[in-house]
Amino acid sequence: MRRVYITGIGQTSVQEHWDRSARELAASTILEAMEQAGIQKADAIYVGNALSGELTGQENVAALVADFAGLTGTEAIRVEAAGASGGAAVRLGYLAVASGVQDTAIVTGVEKMSDLTGPSVEEALATSTDEEYEAIHGLSLVALNALVMRRYMHQFDVERRDFAHFSVNAHRNAANNPYAMFRRPITVEQFEKSRLVADPIGLLDSAGAGDGAATIILCSEEEAGGRANSSVEIISSSLATDAVALHDRSNPLFLRAVYDSAQKAYEQAGVGPEQIDIFELHDASAILAALSLEASGFASEGQGVRLAMQGEIALEGSIPICTMGGLKGRGYPVGAAGVYQVVELVQQLRGEAGANQVDARLGMAQSIGGTGATAVTHILKAPE
């Protein structure tokens, strides 16, 4: 397998881009990233997108994005894995370059969510659950997370307000990220008082929908040439799946797909959780963040929330998470999230994170689809 470098990044702000369509959002970030990487073309484009058909009536997304980015004719494929679509697109781009089949790959994540509102968006998000056995019962994706949270609270003697530390940390970091959607800090009290979406998950515990696109340029060592030494490298990549329905999991409080993909990623990189300096995890809700920390080896079973309560997830803590806001603070354009995570890690590892800068050598990005059906993990290394 060849070494894979990230030579360019691009991102839009996450917000309700009333005036911009998905193809525009995606294309603008492709142009930005290509310019940074100093390239005019690529061997392929991998487009991470979860809900284009559901939310905008548009499929055939990859060809569309290629054409509107001025790359008509380029090999282009859309990758869908619900909330892990962006991470899965990074995986395919990595596989293409690492295997030697391609030299330069563009990976773009894009989601346009603001054309619909409320119940229609909940219905679209529910397509990542088991349609025949979960969605049909009127259970939203948030409700399934709520079921896990309620059981976790019962089993590990944790209260609802203890989960606040994830959101407080996310918003605190988002305040310094000019691309983030929610830039006002929040308090534990505000978290507790926020209205319920699906008990016990409240509005300030649930990552909000937004529009956005992010792009990375991947290339081989040879292709990168003189840039390789100053480029962030992807040193491992792994994707695993688990049963889609929560009730089909062997233990609903254990994210097996996260565990499997994290283990393989650590093995491939030759490191353990102790060597990870930043963890951009999939904080669609605080319970998912807590369980991700546990399944990835940063906390033992039932201790993920306590890790947050002790301040270890903050920028100055032992395992900073969501350093640019995470899904909660940056906003959550579903299919784009996995690519935003990598873009933000690149900023950190290059020393371009501004006020949120963490002294980091290794960063881990992890994306989850549905309630844990797909998990994809990448470990990135700072330039020497």
Partner: protein, 134 residues
């Protein structure tokens, strides 16, 4: 709105019909082609009794289209006495009365409608076991 999609689910939704693995004895709902525990394809129909306890619960406030007129409504993961976990709404119960461990039983109720003149989909929900309320 698909007639066929709901028609083919009737036996599972009205009668909790799952499968039993003849090789390892696992009882599975929903029914599958391959046993997730021992990988056998030797699976035969199994009728679940419908009694269980609440493993976890929630109350829906922000519901998807088709259900938003019904909020707030309680839903749960129910641990059937026969083994498997199943996701369903709770019914005939005050949302303040629900607790983890509450004994429940299956009933057949309306799950959703497709508009005023569209089809009505029925399926399983769970209510507190009647004998415990007398």
């Amino acid at each position: 709105m698909s007639l066929a999609k709901h028609w083919r689910m009737q036996s599972q939704r009205y009668r909790l019909l799952g499968v039993r693995c003849e090789d390892c004895g696992a009882k599975l709902l929903p029914r599958r082609l391959v046993c997730p525990q021992c990988k056998s394809s030797n699976l035969r129909p199994h009728h679940f009794g419908g009694e269980g306890t609440v493993y976890s619960y929630t109350v829906m406030y922000d519901a998807p289209s088709g259900y938003d007129g019904l909020v707030p409504y309680p839903a749960a993961l129910v641990q059937l006495d026969d083994g498997p976990l199943v996701a369903a709404q709770l019914t005939d119960v005050d949302i303040d009365e629900v607790y983890i461990g509450m004994p429940v039983e299956m009933v057949t109720r309306r799950l959703r409608e497709y508009g005023e003149s569209g089809m009505i989909v029925y399926g399983y929900k769970f209510r507190p076991r009647l004998k415990d309320h007398l």
